[in-house]
Symmetry: C2
Amino acid sequence: MNKKVLSACTIAALGVAYSLSVFAQAKPETLVKQRQAAMTLQGKYFGPLGGMLKGSVPYDQKIVERNAGYLQVLSRMPWDGFDPSTKGVKSAALPAVFTDTAKVKDAIDRFQTAVDNLAAASKSGDEGKTKTAIGEVSKACGNCHDNFREKQ
Amino acid sequence: MNKKVLSACTIAALGVAYSLSVFAQAKPETLVKQRQAAMTLQGKYFGPLGGMLKGSVPYDQKIVERNAGYLQVLSRMPWDGFDPSTKGVKSAALPAVFTDTAKVKDAIDRFQTAVDNLAAASKSGDEGKTKTAIGEVSKACGNCHDNFREKQ
């Protein structure tokens, strides 16, 4: 390993350590509250889109586009809150969240990709394509909840 | 008022009516939970920036830029949750939130402008300018909390 690579690795390692130390400052209860807040807002902005897909809410392209943009940001927010330090805090997260990390990562990736696709579809103005994309986001939500959240 | 203007006003009024009807579907308790969730996440992403301003957290331009972008979205989220239907729900919101609406609007505008300025400053890479902008966001948070939130 040459010096440049070694130096880059050191910086990367420091970056990880730094991130961890930043998160470590937050109490486990705070981390749970913050991740639940992100989920609550995902619900706020996805809810009407699910209604549009089912037909219980009138289709409104502008609302879909705005909410999809919000969801792109929100879909990045909850995950650092599933820190191992939060294992003992009461929540609906199943223990698998902390053990089956590869599957968790896949579920997060699928969700973020579905949201990105929805944002792109909503900008196209194509209602059919957008509704299909809403359905994919809904499935991605369900995929994670089915595997990693207590039945509600 | 000419027809075009009248028509634009009608559409705007319908838009408001439609928005209200969409929000009216949410229970007051849900609206409070959602607005508190947005505040919680504002705290999550502003907290480290406040720390950087005070010097208790090392300055990191990348984190400032990311968090400022998140805050731009989050700064748009809580306000429709202060619906008159939520007056009776227990929260830290003072009654003035529902009566002094012009002052509330000014406080929201000031906060959103401060966050937009922070996002712009963080992209410039100028640490001094960015820290000044962090301070302005902090003051805008305080301005609203001082006037419209019970002392914590």
